[in-house]
Every structure is written in structure tokens, then in C-alpha cells.
């Protein structure tokens, strides 16, 4: 009975997500919400993309990699600020998303670092970004490119 309710809830959630965002693709229990990025000036500077990755399943999921035709190299980085206000960026490695939990990629924290851009990131356009998971699953989301001064997905 309980399992039924959970499954029912999950199906509702998934169909809701499927209806509201085109982000849902391959990987079964993962939902990506509010993906966005900032426009770039040319291709020499790295870009960043943000989103919330939600695990609606009952088993942990690990995000192991990122791929996009937009950038030769892309990986999840984390910005951290030390006690005296110095910020540093380091590769975040594998990101584990707990069952029922979510991980927010947002300014000043975790973000997708897009290195060696193949084309400039133009405001108003979008690019596909594939998330690779530890179970071999993949999910491709369309990431809208907002203004260079954007502060969040709603900007």
C-alpha cells in the first residue's frame, strides 16, 4: 500500500516535471529544474551553467560527469570562500544526490564550468548539456542562455 502511494506520488511528480520542463530525459529518477547560464563575451573566457538536480527516486544517484558540444571541457566546479574572503574554484568531483534530495548548482557554489567554448554563448539561445550518472544513465537538458548580468533562472 505504502509502496503504491510512493509510486503514485512519484509518477505524479515525474509527469508534472515532464509537463512543466522539457528537461526530463533518459535517467529515470532525476529531474533537472531551472537550468540557466550567462552569455559569454566571445569564446576565450570560460562560461558557467546552473540548475537544480533533484533525485525523486529511492536510491542515491551520483552525477559523474558533464558533456556538451558547446565546450571542449566541462565539469562541475565548486566556488568556496575562506575566512578572509578569498574565493577559489576547484573541481567538485562526483556529486551524490540523496534519495528525495536535490543539489543546487548556483552562483557562488557548485556550477558547471564550461571551458574552451566552441561558439560564443549568445543571449536568447540555448545549448544541450548532458549529465552522466554512475549507473550509466544520461540525461540531456537544454540550458537557456540569459544576459551576462543575469542573477538567476528568472532573469
Amino acid at each position: 500500500m505504502r509502496a503504491l502511494i510512493v509510486t503514485g506520488g512519484l509518477t505524479a511528480l515525474l509527469s508534472l516535471a515532464a509537463a512543466s520542463t522539457p528537461a526530463l530525459a533518459g535517467s529515470e529518477d532525476v529531474v533537472v529544474e531551472g537550468a540557466w547560464s550567462r552569455a559569454s563575451i566571445g569564446t576565450t573566457r570560460p562560461g558557467a551553467a546552473y540548475m537544480t538536480i533533484r533525485n525523486t527516486g529511492d536510491a542515491p544517484v551520483a552525477l559523474t560527469g558533464i558533456a556538451t558540444p558547446l565546450a571542449m571541457m566541462s565539469e562541475i566546479h565548486e566556488t568556496s570562500t575562506n575566512a578572509v574572503g578569498v574565493t577559489a574554484m576547484t573541481p567538485a568531483g562526483e556529486i551524490i544526490i540523496a534519495p528525495g534530495g536535490s543539489v543546487a548548482l548556483e552562483p557562488g557554489g557548485l556550477h558547471v564550468m564550461l571551458m574552451q567554448l566552441q561558439t560564443p554563448m549568445m543571449e536568447g539561445q540555448a545549448f544541450p548539456l548532458t549529465l552522466l550518472f554512475d549507473d550509466g544513465g544520461e540525461m540531456t537538458v537544454e540550458v537557456p542562455i540569459l544576459s551576462i548580468a543575469a542573477r538567476g533562472p528568472g532573469d
Binding site: 550567462r38 563575451i41 576565450t44 573566457r45 570560460p46 562560461g47 558557467a48 571542449m72 571541457m73 566546479h77 566556488t79 570562500t81 575566512a83 578572509v84 574572503g85 578569498v86 574565493t87 577559489a88 574554484m89 552562483p107 557562488g108 556550477h111 564550468m113 564550461l114 571551458m115 574552451q116 544576459s147 551576462i148 548580468a149 543575469a150 542573477r151
Partner: protein, 209 residues
Amino acid sequence: MWRRKILGFGAAGAGVLVFALFIGWWQVDGPGSPEPAGQMPIALSAMDFSLTDHEGKEVGPGTLVGRPSMVFFGFTYCPDVCPTTLSDISGWLDDLGEEAEVMNVVFITVDPERDTVEAMAEYVGHFHSAIRGWTGEDEEIEAAARSFRASYEQVPTEGGNYTMNHTASVFLFDAVGRFVTTIDYHEPREFAVPKIKRALKEIAKPETS
């Protein structure tokens, strides 16, 4: 004999005292003093550096004295923190509207190698029009960072590139160039805007120090 011994002890004692004083000076004020990390920036009027703004004009701390100022360090090849700081500042300036029009807003690069005058001009043009971009010689950038008690460091990344670790706080100064406070990275807007108002308000205050 005894007297000579006492004199000897006295001289040794005086020597020890001088040595102790020297060690004390060395550690507290001298070259051995600890890094100024976490200390407050000095007054703009006490700073000495010369840079070029994004329009090619020669600028320095003196350029800022006379109006309240907001100064921060960053680099244009920074994908996360710097555009966030610049857009946060743009948002604060929009919130303050006319009130902030008197303010100097300066973004000093810690990456002059890539951030030329042209690169700075192209970059700051995408944010609030009040934001000025300053760049210059390595030594001048170093001198500026030292005065603000800011630090930065080049960090190699994969593919032969590099990124910069740097102080991301925003420094606020009043119109006479005295340091008021910092807005730390990620501080909510509810705190940032009143802090800027404080720096703006100190215009009317007579010089006390």
C-alpha cells in the same frame, strides 16, 4: 673585580633587552609582521598606486577621494564569482537609484595579463554604467591589493590555462576616503544596500580623525 662582574652582567642584560625589543619590533611592526590578511584597508588618501581605467585614463586612489566609493577585485575570465558580484552590484545600484549616482564603483582586475584596457572595457560595458574597470602593471595591482588588504593568486588549470583565487569582498569608503565596511561575497541584499547607504551618508560627516 666584583664591580667589573656587575658591569659585565649589566652590559649583557642591556644587550638582551635590546635584542628582545628588536625581536618584538620585527614581529609586530617590522618585516617579520604577520600577513595583513583579514585587516582593514587603509584610507584611500594613504594609498599609492597608479592604474589605467577602461577608457584609457590614468587613475589611482586619489581619483576616488571626494566621493564615496565601492571597490572590488576580480578578473574577467572568472565565470562564477565575478559576474555574480558585478550583477549584484548592478542590482544594488539600481535599488539605490539616484542616491548612488555620486558613488565611484571600481572593479580592479587581479589578472592584468589577460585583462587589458580593451578587455576591461568590453566586460564592464555589460553591467551597470557606473562600474569602472581598472587594470595596469603587475606591481601597481600588487600595491593596490596590499593597500586594500586583498589577496590573489594565480592557479594553473587543466589545458594549460589558469584561474585566479582572489578576495571577493566589496570595500566601501566614504567621501573623504576612509574605509567604512566590506560587503562580503554572498551577503544578502538586505545587508548590502544599507551598508552602501552608510558609506553615502558619511559624506556630510566632518573629518574627525
